[in-house]
Symmetry: D3
Subunit: 239 residues, 6 copies
């Protein structure tokens, strides 16, 4: 089984780090291939960049010329999953939705702790459209940018743990979802300090993608995700 994990930004080191996280939970025999968009922003923290990501991710997948069994879109709160679903028969899993979905199996309510406040509305929008807001206690920002995550991991952990604790105490969250593709490495620390289950989106998405393949489930083509009509597109795919 081959699963494509597609980064939403153009930073190759993040693509590799995401693929590494994915490999840690992949079943034996599952090959994880990381893809990097050739179009878009070096990190996604807002709607404009997120729309670029939607196009960059579709382009990256269309450019991949080997067979594959499932696709993971590895951006938290990003646009684009629906477009990929139209283009492919194979299952497409968004890490935001995967994480929230898995969280509901181990607690009555979950909170997302993400990076910057400006990404909170994007995450809320995605959860809303996915029908996953009912059990979402809150989406909170730790005010740790993606760069901060790499610059000083200890400080990042402290900010994220503090916000997770507020979610537990004030919003009654019973599970914490890490709201950024780059937070996978912090999972153990947050889990240990907060005492509740912690879900990383990339890992969750890998297990769901494997499950869908194992169940023989492919994207429904009956209506919303029907294949696009053949048309003369301008400028897409990008090459």
């Amino acid at each position: 089984m081959r699963i494509l994990t597609v980064n939403v930004n153009t930073t190759e080191s993040m693509t590799e780090s995401i693929a590494e996280s994915a490999r840690k939970v992949a079943e034996s025999g599952v090959e994880i291939v990381g893809l990097t968009p050739r179009f878009g922003a070096p990190s996604c923290e807002g709607n404009m960049e997120s729309y670029l990501a939607a196009v960059g991710v579709m382009d990256a997948v269309l450019s991949y010329d080997q067979p594959f069994d499932a696709v993971i879109q590895a951006g938290f709160g990003e646009h684009g999953r629906e477009g990929l679903q139209e283009l492919l028969e194979q299952p497409v899993v968004d890490i935001t939705e995967a994480a929230a979905s898995m969280a509901t199996f181990v607690g009555r309510s979950y909170s997302v702790v993400t990076t910057l406040d400006r990404t909170v509305p994007l995450i809320e929008d995605r959860l809303q459209l996915a029908g996953l807001m009912d059990r979402c206690a809150s989406v909170r920002a730790s005010n740790t940018s993606v760069l901060d995550l790499e610059a000083d991991e200890n400080a990042a952990i402290q900010s994220i743990v503090a916000e997770a604790q507020r979610a537990i105490d004030e919003d009654r969250a019973e599970v914490i979802v890490l709201g950024c593709g780059g937070m996978a490495a912090l999972e153990a620390a947050v889990r240990e300090q907060c005492g509740v289950p912690v879900v990383d989106g990339v890992a969750a998405a890998v297990t769901i993608a494997q499950s869908l393949v194992r169940l023989g489930l492919t994207t429904s083509k009956s209506r919303t995700y029907a294949s696009p009509l053949p048309k003369d597109l301008k400028g897409f795919p990008l090459s």
Copy 2:
């Protein structure tokens, strides 16, 4: 890895048939153990029987004296999952929630096709509490009882396919969820005739239970599913 699949009724042949379905999608190395309640109804089709099932299932799991990694409650729309979660650290997966959750990854909306009309409200209640109603197009009854399923499989398939087609045409469902633990065998037929993905709850639950174990996720003990306080219970467990 050992996963307990607990039937909700007292009919041992159904327990075995559920375990068989589970084994078909289990990873290699996963042992599926079927448990049958010693308390309750031979089939569950209403609230009273469902409440008996909640107690029967908890009792069956407490009576099991070997180690295990996860529990699947194999009743569609049945009460009880929350009680098991209080009693256990291991993940507990309800097949209703597992099926609906997996369905949302392959279509924008899903419909459940179940047996009798009187079970529809129970299924709706469970989906509502689980936060899974937003993308549920409808819960429909095929007027095929659990017994009918076994007596005349062809007739059962025709009834279920007909209702699934109505869900697709009238309610705009893009995925069909089979709303009964005993419908697993009909999956291929319905999928072929309706042309949309079809999800069986037992199979979906097995893959989710495996995923939770693989991710190291256990039930949150922070609030709703905290262990019961030690108390002198009357008549429970049953022996």
Copy 3:
């Protein structure tokens, strides 16, 4: 008219105290009969115990061999009402729903003040399924256990009043619902100190049960609460 008030736990002194509360608001000519389950927990503070209560209450009512006109299930946030409704023609009134319903007639929003935090989710679930959450400002825990209520009434009152005041000030509650069958005796104190109407569930349920009988209303048997099909149940009723 005879109304059964069924305790949800196995503690007979609480059954008697509930029946006493009920008698205080019963019309003349109404006989209140208290029933105690032979199965379950000495107090209910979680899902597992609540599921035992559901079965214990059904068993207690089925064991009662005299005629009666209505049943009150006297547990706050407990499972089981729907099962009783299937078994009976007579109206069944849950005190959670009765209290919330009456509260909406004397204020635009109400808050429930209950005992322990872990019972809050059960109460929220019940209100949700009953369609009573829209006007619920909050469900708050006073961190007073059922035992504490009896051990030091003054301290209990102070905790409950303090939490009720927070509900009024912060959540904009205009009515307080006492979220425990054993809090009836505190009603006057809370009402006096908070200055808003206070609703006790047992008392509310008695007046609603009387009203239903007076109106000639019995449980609809058309779908959800249709009588169970005749089946060979294992272990139920308990004797």
Copy 4:
């Protein structure tokens, strides 16, 4: 105990008929006093007339110079209950809300069958603000005007029964609420022909008003229904 049942239109014969319905379910010792507005429409079938009713009802109650214990506003879907609650300490019960509330105790869902289609939105608005829409299966019009009800009772019953049956079959209603103050006399016929519980608003409101008085509950004055500030009103009360 004295309960005022205030008609919403200016037709005295309807006031008397409403009072008669009320007396049939009143406890012994309860006096029912019918009041007729001096301002407004001879029947209420729209928003404009309903706003006149709100003022006419407040005026009628303010003009009543004897003591009383509760007020029933006897218009289905009419404006005004909140204004009365500001003016009075005594409980105020709207028949729309009373009927819907009682219906939820005997079935999982209810439908309202009213007179003309143009009153449906008013009823929906009132149920929405009262937080009673969750379990409302539908509000349906029988296209029977208030006058028709009196002119040919048999024809009226047939129209109403037919619409109630559609609500049961198509909308899955388990209880029927009669959506007009003047339909009380049809209750038995509809109940008999449809086989489900039927709730009349006036009767339901009487039992709820009695219950509130018995429970010592009066309108909360803490916020929404606080007494109006003393002001120099122009033209009100009307005399």
Copy 5:
């Protein structure tokens, strides 16, 4: 084009001040005519007064004997708009709905800052019925009465700015709606101090009324706002 701006209270100086606000944003060629009800309260701060306003406003418009193109009901959170819509073909715009609607075009969420706490529920009810609550972050009271607004404008601005800032910080509002017809003059000050867009209801309503006229849109007469049937009303219109 002639637009009637109808005050909801009987204070003529406020009518004139509202008309002045309206004229500031009116297109050239648009005549603004201020109307004052002859019936009702000198200021509206509660449901009773608001119901009087509904009747007073309808009466004022019916008494106006010149042609006009649209009506603005200039009360924040007041009842009555639906009645006017039945009486007229011309568009009717409520300032509450106009302000909230315009706010959603310049920010993802908005908060209303109004005068007294007791008017908050009325505003919430109106926004709810208008389908405008989804993007409403909060409705907050500044505890500044309508009279206070005129007595000490600086103090009023400070209270309103402080509450607006709380809405931005705590409720994540991105736009502030001034929740009172008499706050138009404070718009610039609040906008400057809070740094977010500020919407005044009267100004918003004028532009929407002009838009509706320009688009040739008139009130739908198909159902809810169909013209009242001819009836013999008592006491209305008032003269």
Copy 6:
């Protein structure tokens, strides 16, 4: 005042036709400038094409080198409005939201009649995120493609009128919204045949954009629509 009306597809003739519709309702002194994306599909009928449109529209606006006062995104149900709002201070109006918003001022509920069934989910998603679903009775497809609209206007009108009539009769719509940027020319025909108000999105958006400019309202920069951080984007803007 200069308003940019940006087409979402690459077909210049549609850009011109949209601009023409816009000019018909623009105030005197308002210049309408039509822009065509250099990137994307010749018509947008699905998520993939809609995501391309989001990028194509942002690019087209960034490439425009003259001053302007507002932007209209002229695609029905398309992605992208939020990205433009981050990039600009000037108001951005989406025609889907503009049409639905104006519809709510002239009727209690509205239905959208669009082209193909596969675009229905996109429109529903957009209305949902915009908080405009509460009063939406339905979104219906006429099975008329964008090309069909041009090929045989009479046939198109008949299909659209038929679907609008079903929305009025079955879904209780009181206003019809034309769900396609290219349907403006059909407005009069549909209005005449259905007898209810009909709203065209482009026209509605022009009047709202004018209103926002007149009110001095610009996009809130406080959170969701804050300007993007300066980053090194790959491939964007496109030239």
